[in-house]
Symmetry: C2
Subunit: 305 residues, 2 copies
Amino acid sequence: MAEAAEGEVIVRHHYLSLDPYMRGRMNAAKSYAEPQRLDAIMIGGTVGEVVASRHAAFAAGDKVSGMGGWQLYARSTGQGLRKITRPNIPIQAFLGPLGMPGIAAWYGINAILVPKAGEVVTVSAATGGVGSVAGQLAKMAGARVIGIAGGEAKCRFATEVLGYDLCVDHGAADFEARLSAALPDGVDCVFENVGAQPLALCIERLRDFSRIALCGLVASGYDGATPTPLRDLKVILDRRCRIEGFVITDHRALYPQAIDELADYFEDGRLGWTETIAEGLEAAPEAFIGMLQGKNFGKQLVKLI
Amino acid sequence: MAEAAEGEVIVRHHYLSLDPYMRGRMNAAKSYAEPQRLDAIMIGGTVGEVVASRHAAFAAGDKVSGMGGWQLYARSTGQGLRKITRPNIPIQAFLGPLGMPGIAAWYGINAILVPKAGEVVTVSAATGGVGSVAGQLAKMAGARVIGIAGGEAKCRFATEVLGYDLCVDHGAADFEARLSAALPDGVDCVFENVGAQPLALCIERLRDFSRIALCGLVASGYDGATPTPLRDLKVILDRRCRIEGFVITDHRALYPQAIDELADYFEDGRLGWTETIAEGLEAAPEAFIGMLQGKNFGKQLVKLI
């Protein structure tokens, strides 16, 4: 272990977050972020505890979140390191519902979709790190919220724990008929994490003045192999629809407000969540690949301590 | 001629406006508006003079704009009738740069695209009723503005009269190469009136945080025969783009502000324009079909007096 230099801290990581965006970083092609450099620490969100500090703003014992990467310890100048000040909340929640996925959901709902009471909202990957928070925030706004998820177990969790009005299994043979039945009057807001057929079917059912928040297209494959086409832009004109793609790291200035609001909901018990935890750094690659295949249930974490 | 009943006015039409949206109304299919009823007066914007009034707000001699339809006279309760209070401006301009096309341009630029100084804006149908105003408003905002139009004559008019920085002829054999050369660093704002290949090429060249205002898709055909597909929504996510379809009649509350601003520009000589005038109501159908084929040069009008 290196020592902390003047102005630095050493953080012992407790949890590493695994997120779909990481797959994009592994491509050489230009995406919304620079590719992951070879022979460098793999990027990743982390929570942990300051174990040594020569930085005025941090003391040993502080709980922090940051982008520490796939490693047990990180040395930091404090840049991008955020103190966690809610001792009643499990620390790993700051990688999930109170971390980047939760903040992305908060932004998509509050800055793009802005669902009104009585509107219909669909959320794909409805029980995932982002989707689970998006669905619950849409419910708090008074919307009717329809989840789309893979498998009956996730769909049950969506309705029974997360409070979705309905959840449709995209693996069901009669998926399209079920989704149609769940959207008899169409959809006002689409919170999109997946792309592919579920999104195409929602687009066919857009109502006037509908909005689509494009947060992820994981089913298109982060190798870009499977495009998600839009058959005809005319529907966007006819329905006066707005589609907006966003990447949450463009909106860092909003993180404190988002985390604060989400943490309040969490402490009030209004934010249900679940997690899948892999044990130890060596389990991270397999867990990461599994998450891209939808094997996780809720937020995928790696426990490092 | 019927007499004006109590609370009504009779308007003598001076000009009828021909606009692409009319073609959509001729379809039975659901679009953003109700289909044109058969055996009813064909819808259309008009300007003219009140020749008889039993309405408190209008007097004989008032110049007015409204939706009088394809006829020489209209009887009106005053609903949708707007007094024209700028005697220095040719009355037919209130069907063009100061009418629905101009207001649509104003809305697309000011409410959707909001181009910043130095940003790159493309405008398709660059010399048309909407495009000519959109391009000039984008220039006033300090943007670099690239027009797309059909034929060298329109392109010359775009640069020499309307002030476009460049205009690319979409009929040129090397159109794609020319557009690429005109957009060496890509495009920030797309004001779209046409769809089809010009839009597809602009989408391939979107910059980060770009916006697309979808005002029309006339090249897709108002019979919906030729879709304008978006090959892969991933570009919208990667570029954090916003696409928004709009129909100006949804925003009637903004008309007075828009007309006032546009009329100020017009009186100051900052709003170049041109028009193609067909003579007499019987010339309207042929002029309408010609306009859908791009035969008009600037705003297509029919002179009725």
